[in-house]
Symmetry: C2
Subunit: 367 residues, 2 copies
């Protein structure tokens, strides 16, 4: 096979494809990018058996063919090439020769025969949203998935469509993050659990532009994300997701409204006295027009009083400061509201329109 | 004791002082910054027993006194304070109370009694150079010191003054880096070996501005760097440094002149095929008007031909690519010249005025 392409086009193709190259695998072929030169098309494919990526690269094809090349080495070579036209050739023994300017590289490739091609999936209806929206919905919830594999289903996010509303949910047993997005049309109900790793990779591939579009297709076992030139297909996580509606409630006894930035910097200061793995809660003492935050550990003590607006009862309640910080960082509103019932019941941070809802369980503490 | 200072002034003082806080020590007091409030002066002192730093911080002193505070915790607290006036107080039990805006911190301090104060050193004559010059001289040589402690003296740099010339030398047994700087006046001969770690820390404290001045004092066992508000004192390394003049020569059989950037990118591409700890040389084949660079390893092969100007014999010679790259990165000239004698003799990269000289030993290779 033989093709020419610019360094820039190759590099953007490789940087997308490499996201589905596993870092550890017992199948060396999966560490490769499969390069296919078709009559008028150059395609890079990768597959870590959970997620697969297929991306098209602008190229002049001189001879069609297929070869697999070790992904990290190929990516490094492309990155270090001069900014010129690249000529890529491979022979019948899969020896690869890359020329660019006066530089020549020879590396060994592999046959594509053992490569695990992407499954072909029946798709019909698709949900279209802006890349900006999908990217923020993922980034604003993904920190709430469980990171250990004890409960497989908690390592994914629920994607649920009812009518024209997409709801994305992540939870880890201590907190829940929910984002709601209005779609342009209505759809039949969909309820699937997408692996967290897939979503992290997708959010890095998405442009983040409001005007760029991503199409999402659902099948029984797969989800497919399509952006111009690139298709990402991922397995879904089997099993029934939690009944989230049962966990959230709109009753509250106390509502506190506070400047998000001031609240965030204050908790950030408090975390100075919390060491990794240490379970020291931050204690929030809510009274009229102010909230006192304090933390005490072997390392020292800190307290600070914030101006707030309060409705309802006074309350003293303790939280893992990191959970509050994660939620506050995901919100862009200038002021936020906390809804509380009692020191043993979950706290909600949510906006009027419920575009976001963060539920955080309180922590017991002794004074 | 009690003082007030701005967050910014405290932060810049802490960021300098913390450089002499050891990361591992059996003496916990050395992990502290000693804070001294004198009548009209606030001083932060740190000491890792090889290097000590004393820096003055702008402050309003309300009550004089001394307290030692764990450096990393103090630094983190200061960094996270709001941008306001900070009030620092300690009582007779060394309990420290820091207030800033509405935030209050309580941490435990220590008596300063066990603190290893900086040695007082007799100094008279001092060498004055710009912070920019000292910073670049260090950065452009420090990569050539030895990193293992087998030969203590190789972990430092020679600072040698003869007349009005300061020469700084680093070597590790495979290469030598030399920078020469003209001073404003002449001095009696000085020849001392300064620890590499001291120089690395100093280069981070220096501003890098041509107009800012650093004064350097020498004593039998110490070197002192003085910049406005800050004094850094370091032990010297004992022992006789190598006779560098014996190792360098101005004879050559071949002189090659090449564009520095082109040469550097080419070697950077070649290093793709060199794994950490692997001793694959890059082979330079020098002929008329061009130089072919090639490398071959289990990972693949690369070659590239560069346009050059050549005087003298053709030659084929091998080098550790990293040593050439380190030297090229330290040079800012657009073109550089290599001076070669034969494939077993060292190669020199140097400018006409000898402001820099890099000596690199070649590597044997089999073709």
């Amino acid at each position: 096979m033989k093709f020419t392409a610019t360094k820039a086009d190759l590099q953007s193709g490789v940087s997308i494809a490499i996201r589905a190259v596993p870092s550890h695998t017992t199948m060396p072929i999966l560490e490769c990018i499969l390069i296919e030169a078709r009559t008028n098309d150059l395609i890079f494919t990768t597959n870590d058996m959970e997620m697969g990526i297929e991306t098209h690269v602008k190229a002049g094809i001189e001879e069609t063919g297929v070869v697999a090349v070790e992904a990290r080495m190929f990516s490094e070579i492309v990155r270090k090439l001069p900014n010129e036209i690249v000529t890529f050739e491979s022979d019948e023994n899969y020896n690869i020769r890359i020329r660019c300017g006066k530089a020549k590289f020879m590396i060994g490739g592999k046959s594509g025969e053992e490569f695990a091609y992407l499954p072909s999936v029946e798709t019909d209806e698709c949900v279209t949203i802006s890349q900006f929206t999908l990217k923020s919905v993922i980034q604003d919830t993904i920190f709430s998935i469980a990171t250990n594999e004890n409960s497989k289903i908690m390592t994914g996010e629920l994607f649920e469509i009812k009518g024209d509303i997409l709801r994305v949910v992540a939870l880890d047993g201590h907190r829940i993050a929910i984002r709601r997005v209005a779609l342009k049309e209505s759809f039949d109900p969909i309820r699937v659990v997408v692996p967290g790793k897939t979503l992290q990779d997708i959010s890095r591939i998405l442009s983040g532009e409001m005007d760029d579009i991503v199409r999402i297709y659902f099948s029984k076992n797969h989800i497919i994300f399509e952006i111009p030139g690139t298709r990402v297909i991922s397995r879904l996580i089997d099993g029934e997701y939690f009944n989230v509606d049962q966990m959230i409630s709109s009753d509250y006894e106390t509502k506190v409204t506070v400047n998000r930035n001031v609240f965030l910097s204050c908790i950030d200061r408090a975390t100075l006295f919390v060491r990794e793995g240490d379970k020291k809660p931050i204690i929030m003492e809510i009274s009229d027009q102010e909230m006192n935050l304090s933390i005490e550990s072997q390392l020292g003590a800190m307290d600070e009083t914030l101006d707030t607006a309060k409705e309802g009862k006074d309350m003293v309640i303790g939280f893992n400061p990191r959970f509050i910080m994660d939620a506050l960082k995901a919100i862009s509103d200038e002021t936020i509201s906390l809804y509380l019932v009692n020191p043993k019941a979950p706290c909600f941070i949510k906006d009027e329109g419920l575009s976001y809802t963060y539920l955080i369980l309180p922590v017991n503490f002794v004074r």
